[in-house]
C-alpha cells in the first residue's frame, strides 16, 4: 500500500494514574498506520488496551506521548475549525448498545443530535435524513419516535451505526460493536457494516476479540498484548502463519470444526501480568514458551520479517 495513510500513529502512549502513585500503561508505545478504505483490526484479550487505543486516537483521552497524525496533521495541534471537521469525519460505534443511547431521547433525536451540529437543514430535511438513515441500517421510519428501551440489542446497535453515519464520516472506530450481541445478530450487523463500507467508502478501525469475525472483515490486523503491538500483518498471512508466539497461542484458541485431533491447542501458563507492573524486556516473556535470557532483558522492536508482516519478537525468525 503506497497510498497516503489516513492515520499515522507513532509511539503512542496512554498512561492512567493508579492508586499509590503507580501508572497503568494501558497503551504503551504503539505504532501503526491506517489507510483509507481499509478495515484495520486490533485484536487481543480483555484489558490489553485495544479500546483505550481506539479512544485515544479519536481524542476521548489525551495521549501521554507519541503522535497521532490525521492526514499528515497532528491531531493535538489542530485549530478549532480543523477539530470541528475532525469530529464530523471520525465517528465511533460503541460496545454496549444499552448504555450508548440516552434513555430519555427518542431514536430520531439521537440520530439527529450530532448531525444538527454540522449540517444546516430545515426540520423537514432533518426528518427525511433520519428516515433515510433508518432505512440504510435496515430499520423503518417508525423507529424515529421510539425510545431506546423499546428496541432489541441488535436494533440499538443499528441506531448506533445510523448515528455515526449521520455525520457522513470517512472513518469509524468500531469498539467491539458485536461483542454484546447474539451470534445470529452479530452476522447481520457485521454484514451491514461491510455493505456500508463498500457503499460509502468508509475506513474502519475494528476493535474485537472475536478472531473469526476479525478474519471475515479485516484487511490488516494488529495483535495487542499488554498495551503493546506484538504483530502487525495483512489478514491472510497472519492467519496462515502467525509469527509471534502470543499470536500463535491466541489463534490456536479459535474453535474450528475441521481441526484434527493431532493439532494441539497452545496453553499459555499463568495469568496476564498487570499493566501497572509489566515484565521487563519482552512483555510476553513471562508466559512465552520459547523465552530465553535475552527476552527477559531486552525489549524487542517491531521489525518487518516478511513483506508487510511486522512482529515484535527476538526469536520470531527461528520459530
Amino acid at each position: 500500500m503506497s497510498k497516503q495513510p489516513l492515520f499515522e500513529i507513532k509511539n503512542l502512549k496512554r498512561y492512567f494514574p493508579a492508586k499509590g502513585g503507580k501508572t497503568v500503561k494501558a497503551v504503551d508505545d504503539v505504532t501503526f498506520d491506517i489507510f483509507p478504505g481499509e478495515t484495520f483490526s486490533l485484536v487481543g484479550e480483555s484489558g490489553c488496551g485495544k479500546t483505550t487505543c481506539g479512544r485515544t486516537i479519536l481524542g476521548v483521552y489525551p495521549k501521554t506521548s507519541g503522535s497521532i497524525l490525521y492526514e499528515g496533521e497532528e491531531t493535538a495541534k489542530m485549530s478549532k475549525a480543523q477539530l470541528r471537521q475532525f469530529r464530523r469525519r471520525n465517528q465511533m460505534i460503541f460496545q454496549d448498545p444499552y448504555s450508548c443511547l440516552d434513555p430519555r431521547m427518542t431514536i430520531g433525536t439521537i440520530i439527529q443530535e450530532g448531525m444538527n451540529v454540522h449540517f444546516k437543514r430545515t426540520p423537514a430535511q432533518r426528518n427525511e435524513k433520519v428516515t433515510e438513515l433508518l432505512f440504510k441500517v435496515g430499520l423503518t421510519a417508525d423507529f424515529a419516535s421510539r425510545f431506546p428501551h423499546e428496541l432489541s440489542g441488535g436494533q440499538r446497535q443499528r441506531i448506533g451505526i445510523a448515528r455515526a453515519l449521520a455525520m457522513e464520516p470517512d472513518f469509524i472506530v468500531c469498539d467491539e460493536p458485536i461483542a454484546a450481541l447474539d451470534v445470529s445478530i452479530q452476522a447481520q450487523v457485521i454484514n451491514l457494516m461491510i455493505d456500508l463500507q463498500q457503499e460509502m467508502g468508509l475506513t474502519y478501525l475494528f476493535i474485537s476479540h472475536d478472531l473469526s469475525m476479525v478474519r471475515h472483515i479485516s484487511d490488516r490486523i494488529g495483535v495487542m498484548y499488554l498495551g503493546s503491538l506484538v504483530e502487525l500483518s495483512p489478514t491472510a498471512p497472519l492467519y496462515e502463519k502467525p509469527l509471534h508466539p502470543y499470536t500463535q497461542a491466541l489463534f490456536s484458541a479459535i474453535p474450528d470444526v475441521h481441526r484434527g485431533k493431532k493439532e494441539q491447542r497452545i496453553h499459555l501458563q499463568g495469568e496476564i501480568p498487570s499493566p501497572i507492573n509489566p515484565p521487563s524486556g519482552c512483555k510476553f516473556s513471562s508466559r512465552c514458551p520459547y523465552a530465553q535470557d535475552r527476552c527477559h532483558e531486552e525489549a524487542p522492536a517491531l521489525r518487518e520479517l516478511e513483506k508487510d508482516h511486522f512482529v515484535t519478537c527476538h526469536l520470531a525468525a527461528q520459530l
Partner: protein, 316 residues
C-alpha cells in the same frame, strides 16, 4: 413422506412471484407510526394517564386554593375569641366547630394550612437548590474537592435530624416560619446533594455523553440535553417525596411546642391544642389531622406519578 412426494415438490418450478409480500410495504408502515414526541411532552401525557396522580394533583390544588382564599373571604377571623360559643361541635355556623376559646376552626384549619404548605414547598425548594448546587460543584470539580465536600455531607447527615431541628429552634429562640424553615433545611439538603452528585458523575461518564462529545456537540448542549433531563427527573421525584417529610416535621415541632406560636397556627399546632381534650372533643383533632394526612398522601401519590411519568422505561 415418501420419495415420490419429495421428488414432485422438487420438480415444481419455484416462481419468484409466489414470494412477494402482499399488502404491507415499508412506506405504509409510516402511517401506523406514532407521532414524534419530545421527552417532556411524552412525560406530561404519561402523568395525565395516571388517574391516582391526577386526583392527588387536583386535591393539592383544592387544598392550596382553600388555604389562600378561605381565611380571606370567611366572615370569621382566625383570632376572634367568642367565649359564648366555646367548644362547639361542627354546625352550619361553624363548619369544623370552635376551639376552647371559641375561635372558628374552619378558618383556623385553612389558615394553619398556609404555614404547613409554605414550609413543605419552600423547604423542598431550598433543599433542592442547595443540594443541586452543592452536588453539582462536587461532581464538576471531582478529586479532592469532591472528597472533602462529600465527607462534610456524611458528617452532617450522621447527626440525627430532629435533634438538630430542636436544637436550632431552642438556640434561635424564635418560632417564626423562617426559623422553622432554616432549622429543617440546614441538614435536609444532604441526601439531595448526594443524589445529584452521583447522578451527574454517572451521566458524564456514560457512553452517550462520550458519543455526543465525539460528534462535536458543545458542552453546553450536552448539559442541557443529557445532564439536566437525566438528573432533573430524579431530583423532581426525590424533592416531591421530601415535601411530606417537611410538613410532618413542622407538625411535629408545633406539636411539641417548638413551632408556630399563637395566635398564628398550623396543622401541627392545632392538633397539639386538641390533644388535651381529645376524648371529649375529637373533632378538634380530626380536621387538622385529616388535612395533614391528605396533603402528605397527595404529595406521595403525585411523586409516584411523576416518577413513573419521567421514566421512559415504564412507558406503556
Amino acid at each position: 413422506m415418501n420419495e415420490n412426494a419429495v421428488n414432485s415438490i422438487q420438480e415444481q418450478a419455484l416462481d419468484p412471484k409466489d414470494f412477494q409480500i402482499q399488502g404491507a410495504d415499508t412506506a405504509s408502515a409510516e402511517l401506523f407510526a406514532r407521532k414524534p414526541v419530545t421527552y417532556w411532552r411524552d412525560a406530561w401525557r404519561r402523568f395525565f394517564e395516571n388517574k391516582l396522580a391526577v386526583v392527588a394533583l387536583c386535591l393539592l390544588i383544592v387544598i392550596t386554593l382553600c388555604t389562600i382564599f378561605v381565611p380571606i373571604f370567611s366572615s370569621h377571623s382566625i383570632s376572634a375569641h367568642d367565649l359564648l360559643n366555646r367548644k362547639q361541635w361542627p354546625s352550619a355556623q361553624h363548619w369544623f366547630g370552635t376551639d376552647d376559646l371559641g375561635r372558628d376552626l374552619f378558618v383556623r384549619v385553612w389558615a394553619g394550612g398556609r404555614v404547613s404548605i409554605i414550609i413543605g414547598v419552600l423547604g423542598a425548594a431550598i433543599v433542592a437548590v442547595v443540594g443541586c448546587i452543592y452536588g453539582g460543584i462536587a461532581a464538576y470539580f471531582g478529586g479532592k474537592v469532591d472528597m472533602l465536600m462529600m465527607r462534610i455531607v456524611e458528617i452532617l447527615s450522621s447527626v440525627p435530624n430532629l435533634l438538630v431541628v430542636i436544637m436550632m429552634s431552642v438556640v434561635l429562640e424564635s418560632s417564626s416560619i423562617p426559623t422553622l424553615l432554616f432549622a429543617m433545611t440546614v441538614t435536609g439538603w444532604c441526601p439531595i446533594a448526594r443524589l445529584v452528585r452521583s447522578q451527574m458523575l454517572q451521566i458524564s461518564r456514560s457512553e452517550y455523553v462520550m458519543a455526543a462529545r465525539l460528534m462535536g456537540v458543545s458542552p453546553l448542549k450536552i448539559v442541557v440535553r443529557h445532564m439536566i433531563p437525566n438528573t432533573f427527573s430524579v431530583i423532581i421525584v426525590a424533592v416531591t417525596f421530601r415535601i411530606p417529610g417537611l410538613i410532618f416535621g413542622e407538625a411535629f415541632l408545633s406539636n411539641v411546642g417548638l413551632g408556630v406560636q399563637p395566635p398564628n397556627t398550623s396543622w401541627g399546632a392545632l392538633s397539639s391544642a386538641a390533644q388535651s381534650s381529645l376524648l371529649y372533643y375529637p373533632y378538634m383533632m380530626f380536621f387538622p389531622a385529616l388535612l395533614i394526612a391528605l396533603t402528605m398522601l397527595s404529595f406521595t401519590l403525585m411523586g409516584d406519578g411523576l416518577r413513573d411519568a419521567l421514566d421512559p422505561k415504564l412507558r406503556r
